[in-house]
């Protein structure tokens, strides 16, 4: 989708601001979001592409104003609601409870005993790499051009890299295809290539000199040039 997450080349954000001696962890709740993320993804409740697409659909202003871990919280909640794992109403009710009981731990809202941990059957193999089912269409050195598409759903072909000519630098292996995997349409594994683009090809005459950008692109994003 052409969402606010697709930031490559966008102007208007000012300088890169850094904190001196930054703590990588800012607050306890960030670790809890990580635990929730590991639990839901590790158990196969959602895959990484569903997770990313959950984040991409945040309200655009909210996305720009909120932190990385809040993106995760928002995205995970959205997908869990869509999958019927939790309900939006329950989540809202619980949030109100914890606003009213700010010092209570997460277990305070639970009546009765915690259940036995749910054991999930993994759907399909773990990880992102798969066996090749067909020979790759491209090899290092091949000239390619990326497709011009504006899919309404998830994609990892950034807007700045669409309809651009590049050269295959290497083949990374065969990987699950995000554009289908984010939408329950199967893994459709296919070769992933590192493709090199000249800055002038991406950005036109205003590009910085002597620069190339390397992007990992699935075979379906590419056509022979």
């Amino acid at each position: 989708m052409d969402g606010i997450h697709d930031l490559g080349g966008m102007q208007g954000f000012g300088p890169v601001l850094r904190e001196a001696n930054e703590l990588t962890f800012h607050a306890d709740w960030e670790a809890h979001v990580l635990a929730i993320s590991e639990a839901t993804r590790g158990k196969g409740v959602m895959n990484i592409d569903e997770f990313r697409h959950g984040i991409e659909r945040m309200d655009a202003a909210h996305y720009l104003e909120s932190s990385y871990y809040e993106h995760w919280l928002d995205g995970i909640s959205r997908v869990l609601i869509e999958k019927g794992v939790i309900s939006a109403k329950d989540l809202e009710k619980r949030a109100v409870f914890f606003e009213e009981h700010p010092d209570s731990p997460a277990t305070a809202a639970i009546h009765g005993q915690l259940p036995e941990p749910v054991v999930f059957e993994r759907r399909g193999p773990p990880g992102f790499r798969r066996e090749a089912s067909a020979p790759p269409k491209f090899k290092p050195g091949d000239a390619v051009v990326t497709r011009v598409t504006h899919p309404r759903g998830h994609t990892r072909l950034a807007q700045y890299a669409r309809g651009r000519r590049g050269v295959v630098a290497s083949m990374r292996g065969v990987y699950v295809f995000p554009d289908t995997n984010a939408h329950g349409l199967g893994e459709d594994p296919q070769p992933l290539y590192s493709v090199a683009f000249e800055a002038k090809e991406l950005w036109g005459e205003d590009a910085e000199p002597n620069q190339r950008t390397f992007i990992d692109l699935w075979e379906q994003y590419l056509l022979p040039a």
Binding site: V16, A31, H32, V118, F214
Partner: protein, 199 residues
């Protein structure tokens, strides 16, 4: 922040607890899992594996070769099981820098938790289109005669930069070099400086 919740902490914390409690109730999460993750990240080791890999590559040409071409095997020698890393080497002719424009993909196992700036719109938007300007803000001036290669981590592959060894590195041991190798140098936004020059 913003119109969504005037008090970010209160809003977010209550939502995190709400989600956590629902998942605990359904058995999708256990208190034990939460404790483990909290403990793990509270003691984040930072760029420990990355720094050791870089330092060893500087003192050991054979390891350097393996790190660049058989990366998973080289990391296993350091005790790290990580299959998705690609290491790109800086040379006098090439400077590399890593970004993720679409989200904030980052090689956590080798570099630890990502810094906030890496995840913010300014770095994500600008690094692909004006890397030299961004690097200058980090105090790193790359002359036009040196190629800049930007690596946009759009898939599951993760990138780490093998920086140029600092002046005098050949006098130092792997253990002496490790503390010189900063996280920022392995993202590609800084050089590694010799002890006397370290800032």
């Amino acid at each position: 922040m913003g119109k969504y919740h005037p008090n970010v902490e209160e809003y977010v914390v209550s939502r995190v607890r709400a989600l956590e409690s629902l998942l605990l109730e359904k058995g999708l999460l256990t208190p034990d899992m939460v404790d483990r993750v909290v403990a793990r990240y509270a003691t984040d080791t930072g760029p420990m594996y990355g720094a050791r890999a870089v330092a060893r590559a500087w003192v050991n040409p054979a390891f350097r070769q393996r790190l660049l071409t058989e990366t998973t095997a080289a990391l296993a020698e350091l005790g790290l099981n990580y299959t998705e890393l690609v290491v790109v080497e800086n040379t006098p002719a090439v400077h590399n820098v890593v970004v993720c424009t679409l989200c904030s993909c980052y090689p956590w196992p080798v570099l630890g938790l990502p810094p906030t700036w890496y995840k913010l719109p300014a770095y994500r938007s600008r690094t692909v289109v004006e890397p030299r300007a961004v690097l200058r803000e980090f105090g790193l001036v790359i002359g036009e005669e040196r190629e800049i290669r930007v690596w946009d981590s759009s898939a599951e592959v993760r990138y780490m930069v093998l920086p140029l060894a600092p002046l005098g590195a050949e006098e130092l041991s792997e253990e002496q070099l490790i503390p010189l190798v900063t996280r920022d140098s392995m993202i590609g936004v800084a050089d590694v400086h010799a002890p006397a020059m370290a800032r």
